[in-house]
């Protein structure tokens, strides 16, 4: 966890520094804002990892001497198959086509999106395949 935290915080720090130099030197705002946002993207998750790395024991993947056995146990829940990503993708597709071919396409597009989101969440809750 520590390496992950330092990696992100280091990037954030670097973007903050060059952002400041750039903004003060050029007075151009767009780049200053974008580099500032980049700094936040380093700092926000970075400080989250730092917070947790101080409060938990190293995980087996952080332990150079770990054996395959030390990682035994539940890794996570992995859906074997699901129709909802496809449904959601098609919903997004139709929604984007509404930008080009007419607002009425939003109706089927967003309906598909909503249906897929509900279906996906329900699938996770049930822990199974619909």
């Amino acid at each position: 966890m520590k390496v992950e935290a330092r990696f992100l915080l280091g990037l954030g720090l670097f973007f903050g520094l060059i952002g400041l130099v750039y903004w003060l030197w050029s007075g151009e705002d767009a780049g200053g804002v974008m580099l500032g946002a980049a700094m936040l993207l380093g700092f926000l998750p970075g400080s989250y990892y730092l917070y947790w790395s101080r409060r938990m024991d190293p995980r087996p993947e952080d332990d150079p001497a770990a054996t395959p056995a030390s990682g035994a146990g539940v890794v996570g829940a992995f859906p074997g198959s699901s129709i909802w990503p496809f449904t959601l993708g098609m919903g997004a597709f139709v929604t984007v086509l509404a930008l080009v071919f007419g607002i009425w396409l939003l109706l089927p597009g967003l309906s598909l999106v909503a249906w897929a989101l509900l279906g996906g969440v329900a699938e996770s809750r049930r822990g199974g395949h619909v």
């Binding site: 993207l41 992995f78 859906p79 198959s81 597709f93 395949h129």
Partner: protein
């Protein structure tokens, strides 16, 4: 079905079998990173062929000064869609969606990506985004025609009306979200699903590079997406963000676009750097030379790449030249470290010139040419002279053709892992020589014709014998590259299920070579102890362990 996966401790029985639908429904519903990665690979290669066909038409048109193969308007569509297809629909997705999707989880001993359903969604957004963008050709006004960079004010509704431009924007919105989701997925996978003992500083360089790429995606792509929404609003909702008339700033588009655009070139490049690193190490039968230096070089390249965007805007006259020039030149330092380390890896190794290794070496040479010309362009006085000439076209084609070679190296090297079958080596070497020679014959004349002042994006040009000769030469190179693609397709057909690969055909070093080819559902029956960045090598060559338990690799807690 949801498998609650337990990590096999020391047991040797297989993990749960894949279950669920078969056939077409299987493809539509799969969340297996290997199947999704394969879909990405196939789709991206098809995009490469489509984009390549556009390029061949462009070169045919330019083979004579007053070419009449296509109309001027069609020519604009062709170069726009050539660039767009190659960058947005081929190179990017191939870099971070195809081989990365298949290989990264296996390299770190993970059963799948962290968010398998999100991974599937990424693919569907990529596929539908590609269809959206390409469908511009079937609309009355034709496809987008304002260049792959969509500069304002050319891209506003007055100068480029029509559905093709909007389809281009829509396609980019879809593929943009696809990329962002893949970025999230890669970071979460690499941070949370590593096998026991796989500390950060034992991850293969390919995985490290994909981690850094994923962070770059998260930094850059949202900016592009925001810019596209502004562009759409300008076109249709009457806002004036990029138009002087309403008090907007056209050059703001360039800032936004290149704040994404330059990191994007490294989003494309870093995954291929990673592939080449692994391939050179395996085919030199040595560990990567300067492992940590490699990691820090990658991180520095990525960090610097966020501060160089306006080197694409030197000639606008409104950017801070010294800052952007200095930052751009600095990137040459970590890039140089990488090239040094690649050579160091081969140094006194037992180099095996397989097709994959040849492709990797071709990458090295070609990327060096492209990178060096980039250093020229990063110097404003030289850029004022060469901006918007064919010199720039030559620069980035050296770079991206190098990446194509690296990608081919990746397919020859890892293809056997996920298909279970090797490709024919001899045909591969023939393909390499067509590709390598073709690339140089194609790009080197473009540098020269650029220095002689030929502008890019023109369909006809003055009848200057020098220009004509250099253009002809370049078109010959394009034909050679086209032949290399056909040779590749021929190899796929010829080698189809012909040479079974076995788990570890190259005496590989990293975890993916420990499992079967193709790997089982959830990837591993068992894992070796991980004591260095080369666990499979250590297991197979106990007498030549990398660094047993040493502090050099052990400080990654």
């Amino acid at each position: 079905m949801v498998d609650v996966l337990e990590r096999p401790a020391l047991r040797a029985e297989p993990p749960p079998e894949a279950h669920g639908p078969t056939g077409l429904l299987k493809w539509l519903t799969t969340t297996d990173h290997k199947v999704i990665g394969l879909s990405y690979t196939v789709t991206a290669v098809i995009m490469m062929v489509i984009g390549g066909a556009f390029a061949e038409i462009i070169r045919a048109q330019l083979a004579s000064p007053n070419g009449t193969l296509v109309s001027l308007a069609q020519f604009n569509e062709l170069f726009t869609m050539h660039g767009s297809v190659m960058i947005y629909l081929f190179a990017g997705p191939f870099a971070f969606g195809a081989l990365a999707n298949i290989i990264v989880p296996i390299q770190i001993g993970a059963p799948d990506m962290a968010f398998p359903r999100l991974n599937a969604l990424s693919y569907w957004l990529y596929l539908t985004g590609s269809i959206t963008m390409l469908s511009g050709f079937f609309t009355a006004g034709g496809a987008a025609s304002f260049g792959w960079v969509g500069y304002a004010p050319l891209s506003n509704s007055l100068n480029t009306p029509g559905a093709g431009a909007d389809l281009w924007i829509g396609g980019l919105l879809l593929t943009g979200f696809s990329a962002i989701f893949t970025g999230v997925n890669l970071v979460a996978t690499i941070f949370y699903l590593r096998a026991p003992g796989m500390t950060m500083f034992r991850m293969p360089i390919f995985t490290w590079n994909l981690l850094v790429t994923a962070i770059l995606i998260l930094l850059a792509f949202p900016v592009l997406t925001a810019g596209l929404i502004m562009l759409y609003a300008d076109r249709h909702f009457g806002t004036h963000i990029f138009s002087v008339a309403g008090g907007g700033v056209p050059v703001l588009w360039q800032h936004i676009f290149w704040f994404w655009g330059h990191p994007e070139v490294y989003i494309l490049a870093l995954p291929f750097f990673g592939m080449v690193t692994e391939i050179i190490a395996v085919f030199s039968r040595k560990p990567v030379f300067g492992y940590k230096g490699m990691v820090f070089a990658t991180i520095s390249i990525a960090a610097l790449s966020l501060g160089v965007w306006a080197h694409h805007m030197f000639t606008t006259g409104v950017v801070l030249l010294p800052f952007f020039s200095m930052m751009s030149l600095l990137i040459a330092v970590p890039t140089g470290i990488k090239i040094f380390n690649w050579i160091g890896t081969m140094w006194r190794g037992e180099v095996w010139f397989s097709a994959a290794m040849l492709m990797a070496l071709g990458f090295l040479v070609t990327f060096l040419i492209g990178g060096l010309s980039g250093v020229y362009l990063a110097s404003p006085p030289l850029d004022f002279f060469t901006h918007d000439t064919y010199f720039v076209v030559a620069h980035f084609h050296s770079v991206v053709m190098a990446l194509v070679m690296a990608g081919m190296a990746g397919l020859y090297y890892w293809g056997p892992k996920f298909t279970g079958y090797l490709l024919n080596e001899t045909i591969g070497k023939v393909q390499f020589w067509f590709l390598f020679v073709g690339t140089q014959v194609f790009t080197l004349p473009l540098y020269l014709v650029g220095l002689r002042g030929m502008p890019r994006r023109v369909a006809i040009y003055p009848h200057d014998p020098q220009w004509k000769f250099l253009n002809d030469l370049s078109s010959v190179g394009a034909v050679l590259i086209g032949i290399s693609t056909l040779v590749f397709v021929a190899n796929l057909v010829y080698s189809w299920k012909r040479y079974p690969a076995g788990p570890n055909p190259w005496d590989g070093q990293t975890l993916e070579w420990f499992t079967t080819s193709p790997p089982p559902h959830h990837n591993f029956y068992r894992l070796p102890p991980i004591r260095s960045e080369r666990p499979t090598w250590d297991y197979n060559h106990p007498e030549h362990r990398t660094v047993p338990h040493g502090p050099r690799n052990g400080d990654g807690a």
